[in-house]
């Protein structure tokens, strides 16, 4: 019988990562979309780095940074009793960094696609920035939000290299589905590997399909 723990762990990781990224990506994307600050390019570059860096590079640096012998790892351990290497919490932190561009970019594009006059009109009607954001800007970029959420979720499900570097392979803690597949293949259990692989394959297919269907309907209804 197949062990469902890695699958459950994967989806828990993806869900938590998505929620955290949804919250922290808003201010970043808003700032990137509207700021005229000159050093903006540097921030944009940092946000986009995980797109091109090999996951093992990112994982390696995180491993070095979070290890108890580094100042950051030591600081976290003495002050917060937090160890980020080979732990689920560490995986979450790594996933948030690794999937950051997948959430920030669609939201940033969503902000940029809105006419600035919408914002100005709302201000001229006496509304604050927050009210404007919640009642005018966000409702008019639903498809960007949906894209960001789904891409982040799916991307986290597919994570492997970073997990391998920083999480290891601890059952119930850091052994996510992609690790389980690798494990089973190494032990020549191709049938077991196939079950995990197929479940991931099917789920990501369905999620993406649903998004494209929703976005398509959204744009069609807009065009009429």
């Amino acid at each position: 019988m197949i062990d469902f723990e890695p699958l459950i762990l994967t989806f828990r990781l993806a869900l938590i990562t998505t929620i955290i990224l949804l919250i922290i990506s808003f201010p970043i994307a808003y700032w990137l979309a509207y700021s005229r600050f000159k050093a903006k390019a540097i921030v944009e570059t940092i946000v986009s780095m995980p797109l091109v860096l090999p996951p093992s590079v990112l994982g390696f640096y995180l491993l070095v940074a979070f290890s108890p012998s580094s100042w950051l790892g030591q600081f976290l351990e003495t002050n917060f009793d937090l160890r980020l290497v080979f732990s689920f919490t560490g995986l979450i932190v790594a996933s948030v960094i690794y999937s950051l561009p997948f959430m920030v970019h669609p939201i940033q594009a969503g902000f940029a696609s809105l006419e600035p006059e919408l914002k100005y009109a709302s201000y001229s009607l006496g509304k604050s920035r927050l009210t404007t954001l919640l009642r005018v800007l966000l409702p008019n970029m639903k498809s960007s939000l949906l894209t960001g959420i789904v891409l982040t979720f799916a991307h986290t499900i597919g994570e492997f290299g970073v997990v391998l570097m920083i999480g290891g392979n601890i059952p119930g803690e850091t052994k996510v589905a992609s690790m389980a597949i690798y494990d089973q293949v190494e032990m020549m259990h191709y049938d077991q590997a196939n079950i995990y692989a197929f479940i991931l394959f099917a789920i990501t297919f369905v999620i993406l399909l649903v998004v494209y269907l929703i976005n398509q309907r959204y744009f069609i209804s807009k065009a009429i």
């Binding site: 100005y120 001229s124 009607l125 509304k127």
Partner: protein, 297 residues
């Protein structure tokens, strides 16, 4: 009385430009800022609204200071009593027509005035529609209504009618004049259409390269002399042909083409495409009321 004195450096398509304008807006009047595109008209409007801050300047509205860069004072746009109508309407796509208007209400405010505006702007049939299903003229009526919900002191109109066909344009001009008077607004209109300037404004300022070059009543600024016993019509010259000693002019006034034959030499200097003012020197004009006009139609 609204007093404005602003200086700002602008980057335009034709290079850097210094916007330097000092003027007064008379309460209850419509003032038009006229000029070619890139002259800085919209910039003045956005500075008045508080969307843009000039390098130096002051804006005083009665005794309230909206802007004083010398004392580092700036009233945010939310606290300025303005209504802004944008060239692209800027209606909120996620809200219906009536919700666009209701959005402008203050917290807990009744929507009686919103309903009144819906009636005035003839939006009853459209109130539950989303903006994307409306025509340009309809959208502009919604935008105008929405700008009035907060009963602003100052109404700012940024070329609100430039995207509309002449008929719709004329109808909306009448509507703007009507609300301007009934709500006793001080209105600033940005326009590059001379006919609109004549029809709409009590006062016009011509802006060229960021400077006010002329200002006054439209007939004083754009015609040679102020005339009270003359009929003045603004139009566009379609053709100008010299036949013998005379010039045969074809002028589009409103929707009518008027043909005029004149023998004055200077008429050779104007050419097709020029905007012109036609002065009829009627010594004894006869004006009759058109009764039953509506029934006849």
């Amino acid at each position: 009385m609204i007093e404005i004195n602003i200086q700002k450096k602008l980057q335009t398509a034709h290079g850097a430009m210094n916007l330097n304008a000092a003027f007064e807006l008379q309460e209850g009047k419509i003032t038009t800022i006229y000029g070619s595109s890139g002259a800085g008209k919209t910039t003045i409007l956005t500075i008045l609204a508080g969307l843009l801050t000039p390098e130096t300047g002051t804006i005083k509205v009665n005794n309230e200071i909206w802007l004083d860069t010398f004392n580092k004072k700036k009233l945010p746009i939310q606290k300025r009593s303005i209504g802004f109508v944008f060239q692209n309407y800027a209606l909120f796509p996620n809200m219906t027509v009536i919700d666009n208007l209701r959005y402008a209400l203050r917290k807990g405010e009744e929507d009686a005035f919103v309903r009144e505006l819906i009636t005035i702007m003839e939006l009853e049939q459209l109130q539950n529609r989303k903006p994307e299903t409306l025509s340009g003229g309809q959208k502009q009526r919604v935008a105008l209504a929405r700008a009035l919900v907060r009963r602003p002191k100052l109404l700012l109109l940024d070329e609100p009618l430039s995207a509309l066909d002449p008929q719709m344009r004329s109808k909306l001009q009448d509507l703007i004049l009507e609300v301007h008077h009934s709500f006793q607004l001080t209105t600033v209109l940005v326009s590059h259409d001379l006919a609109e300037v004549f029809k709409m404004s009590n006062w016009v300022m011509e802006l060229e390269n960021g400077k006010i070059t002329r200002q006054g009543k439209p007939e004083t600024v754009f015609a040679e002399h102020e005339a009270t016993d003359h009929v003045q019509l603004v139009g566009k010259l379609l053709s100008n042909a010299r036949k013998g000693k005379n010039n045969h002019l074809e002028i589009l006034i409103g929707k009518n083409v008027v043909k005029i034959v004149t023998s004055q030499q200077e008429h050779s200097l104007i050419s097709a495409g020029d905007e012109v003012v036609v002065v009829f020197q009627a010594l004894q004009p006869v004006v009759r009321k058109l009764v039953n006009l509506k029934e006849r139609n």
